[in-house]
């Protein structure tokens, strides 16, 4: 009997096991559900990523690599002290001094508040000393001394304590043995004579834009500087920016196809942007009178007129002292295009415009267009300016395959009808609706600066990013000049005298075309404007 019962138990147990086995298999499957889901996830994401690499490689395909291809400026080994004198200590000189490591205590306080102090202090110490200056306006001279006596030294090290001398006349500064190089940041009408005098006194020259006020001065200055040993640098700094260097690479790789139209522009819509700068915010006139401005020296060789505060502050609106928008703003545009494409002097220029917005004392147009023809290069350069609209239009290079916009960054967008990019547009890797390449990715325009500063920043004339650090490009441009002085090599100067000559002629051609209401041509054989 017990045997029978055992048998029954065995069969019951067998059934139980089978049921258990079945349940355990079900449980295992349940437990591994997640693995199945993960498998689906893996498959789908790998499929998506198979499309991705093509997008990432677009940069490589275009030959524009990564940031490390930006030329790293090697710190100059020879750091012999350079003594610099500044002629004309107005608002531009304040920027130049800052780029050389000198900042007014009030501005230092402000910089500490808005957190830009650290950035400035990270600027390289160029081992220069601004130990002399010439300024005709007493108030500005006082401000200049305060700047130059400030002790904060960017890049570390103690500030050099050479005695700072203020010269009453610029000729005395040029005659001094204590000055090695000069920066000319006066109004336009003084540039030519001062550059010539400085060159004759064997001082190296950094001359602010524009090169000269008149056509004849272009030839005169060129002849003197070309036949001398001094290092000359014209104050156009855009070629120092990282975006510019990428643009140069893009052009070298022929990414745009045949470039046939270049559109450069100026858009401003403020009084100060239109050079009405003699008034304070409350409408009263800014300080400055015959009593504290050496008016005779300021006029230089220009016709003697009674002191006029409007002429002093707004000199670029008067034919006696400048060339208006063309000299002030077109010159930067021309330099950018010339540095990038080496187009040189145009074959012909036509300008047209008028005084349409500011019906005041100005003698130059506030809306002007100039068209420059380059039949040898099969392209046209266009300049369009209005002081009555802030519609930012950028600087655009149009080629058969793509367009490139160069400002504080560079953006390259393929053309819908391009044969070069037809495939990648079809594959959806690029489109004419948005840039296929942007460098740097953010344009770093802050909302705090004045409208005029923002204008310059948008056009890529203020700073650039190198290795993640924001660097002042004026500083880089000055550094290039200073390195050339120390190393005694001339080839590396971007704003050299030949480029300055080209800028001078092109600008004067546009200016003459407007003033004389005619088409102007360049005769390269006789080197004449006709």
């Amino acid at each position: 009997m017990p045997k029978k019962i055992k048998k029954n138990n065995d069969s019951k147990n067998k059934d139980k096991l089978t049921r258990e086995e079945k349940m355990s298999r079900r449980s295992v499957i349940k437990g591994l559900t997640g693995v199945g889901v993960l498998g689906a996830f893996g498959y789908l994401s790998l499929k998506k990523m198979a499309d991705q690499p093509a997008k990432v490689n677009l940069k490589e395909k275009l030959g524009l690599g990564d940031a490390s291809s930006i030329k790293k400026r090697v710190s100059d080994k020879n750091k012999e002290l350079l003594r610099i004198g500044i002629i004309g200590f107005g608002s531009r000189a304040i920027d130049l001094a800052k780029a050389l490591g000198y900042l007014h205590p009030e501005r230092i306080k402000k910089a500490k508040e808005n957190k830009t102090y650290k950035e400035w202090m990270a600027q390289e110490n160029l081992n220069v000393s601004i130990n002399g200056f010439c300024e005709v306006f007493e108030d500005r001279a006082q401000y200049a001394s305060e700047i130059l006596n400030n002790e904060d030294q960017p890049g570390g090290g103690a500030k050099l304590k050479l005695p700072i001398k203020r010269y009453k006349r610029y000729q005395d500064l040029l005659n001094s043995d204590e000055i090695d190089a000069v920066i000319i940041s006066t109004p336009e009408h003084q540039h030519a004579q001062m550059t010539i005098d400085a060159t004759k006194a064997c001082k190296h020259v950094y001359c602010e834009k524009s090169f000269t006020r008149t056509l004849q001065e272009v030839y005169d200055v060129y002849d003197v500087v070309k036949n001398s040993d001094i290092k000359f640098q014209l104050g156009h700094q855009i070629s120092q920016s990282a975006a510019f260097q990428k643009a140069k690479q893009a052009v070298a790789n022929n990414l745009l196809g045949k470039i046939n139209l270049i559109e450069t522009t100026t858009n401003r819509n403020t009084k100060s942007g239109a050079w009405i700068r003699h008034l304070q915010k409350d409408g009263t006139t800014k300080p400055g009178s015959f009593n504290n401005i050496d008016w005779k020296q300021w006029l230089g060789n220009r016709p003697e007129v009674p002191f006029d505060v409007k002429r002093y502050y707004n000199w670029s609106l008067f034919q006696d002292y400048g060339t208006g928008i063309l000299g002030q703003l077109f010159t930067h545009e021309f330099d950018a295009v010339n540095q990038l494409l080496e187009i040189g002097i145009p074959k012909s220029v036509v300008s047209s415009g008028g005084i349409y917005i500011y019906k005041d004392f100005r003698e130059f147009p506030d809306v002007i267009q100039s068209v420059f023809e380059y039949p040898d290069r099969d392209l046209t350069l266009m300049y369009s300016a209005s002081l009555g609209s802030s519609n930012h239009r950028g600087r655009v290079f149009m080629g058969k395959d793509a367009k490139m916009e160069l400002g504080s960054n560079v953006k390259i967008t393929p053309d819908d009808n391009s044969s070069k990019y037809e495939t990648i547009i079809k594959e959806g890797l690029a489109s004419s609706e948005y840039p296929m390449f942007t460098y740097p990715e953010d344009d770093g325009i802050d909302g705090v600066s004045s409208a005029t500063t923002q204008y310059y920043a948008r056009r890529g004339l203020i700073d650039t990013k190198i290795d993640g650090k924001t660097v002042d490009i004026t500083h880089l441009h000055l550094k290039e000049w200073i390195n050339a002085i120390r190393n005694n090599g001339d080839g590396k100067l971007k704003g050299n005298i030949d480029k300055a000559f080209e800028e001078g002629i092109a600008t004067q051609m546009a200016h003459i075309s407007y003033m004389e209401k005619r088409r102007v041509e360049w005769d390269p054989i006789n080197r004449k404007v006709i």
Binding site: S27, V28, K30, G31, T33, G34, V37, L38
Partner: protein, 163 residues
């Protein structure tokens, strides 16, 4: 038997299905977010932290002020999303994972809670309640109603522990 007291299924089949689907969906979401950040060498939480307003603003500013700390936070963030996502899908250490993920999303939420100024965004209109908050609390719900020990690798862990 692989079922023990810990693996007992207190849910009806529809309750279990919904909870598991929810767990898988959120796990998928976190895993993908984490992977994308890992693959994109340019990614940093700098942009997100820069815009931090609310209770965590001080913490956010401190993180972005120091590039080493930022790097560390970015690293932790990417890998947390990946690991939490993986574990949720697989049902591994489910209760712990759900709770941690819930806290992580709550941290994201607290960095920019839609209080009274940023109410209208590209993704919708929010007043205090936004999708991050909902997802965070959903994860807390998954913590309270765990399913990993029924549908998930946790089942094997409990089984082998028991044995």
């Amino acid at each position: 038997m692989l079922s023990n007291s810990k693996n007992k299924n207190p849910y009806t089949s529809s309750q279990l299905s919904v909870l598991v689907i929810l767990r898988m969906l959120i796990g998928w979401h976190l895993l993908y977010e984490g992977l994308v950040k890992l693959m994109n060498s340019n990614w940093s939480s700098f942009g997100f932290l820069m815009q931090s307003e609310g209770p965590l603003k001080g913490f956010a500013s401190w993180v972005i002020s120091n590039s080493r700390i930022l790097y560390f936070v970015d690293f932790l963030n990417k890998w947390a999303l990946i690991l939490l996502g993986l574990c949720l899908i697989l049902g591994l250490l489910t209760r712990f994972t759900s709770l941690m993920a819930g806290i992580l999303l709550m941290l994201y939420y607290l960095n920019n809670p839609p209080l009274f100024d940023t109410l209208e965004t590209a993704q919708g209109n929010y007043l205090i309640v936004n999708k991050l908050l909902i997802e965070s609390v959903t994860l807390i719900a998954l913590y309270v109603f765990p399913t990993g020990n029924i549908i998930g690798l946790d089942m094997f862990i409990h089984y082998f522990k028991r044995k």
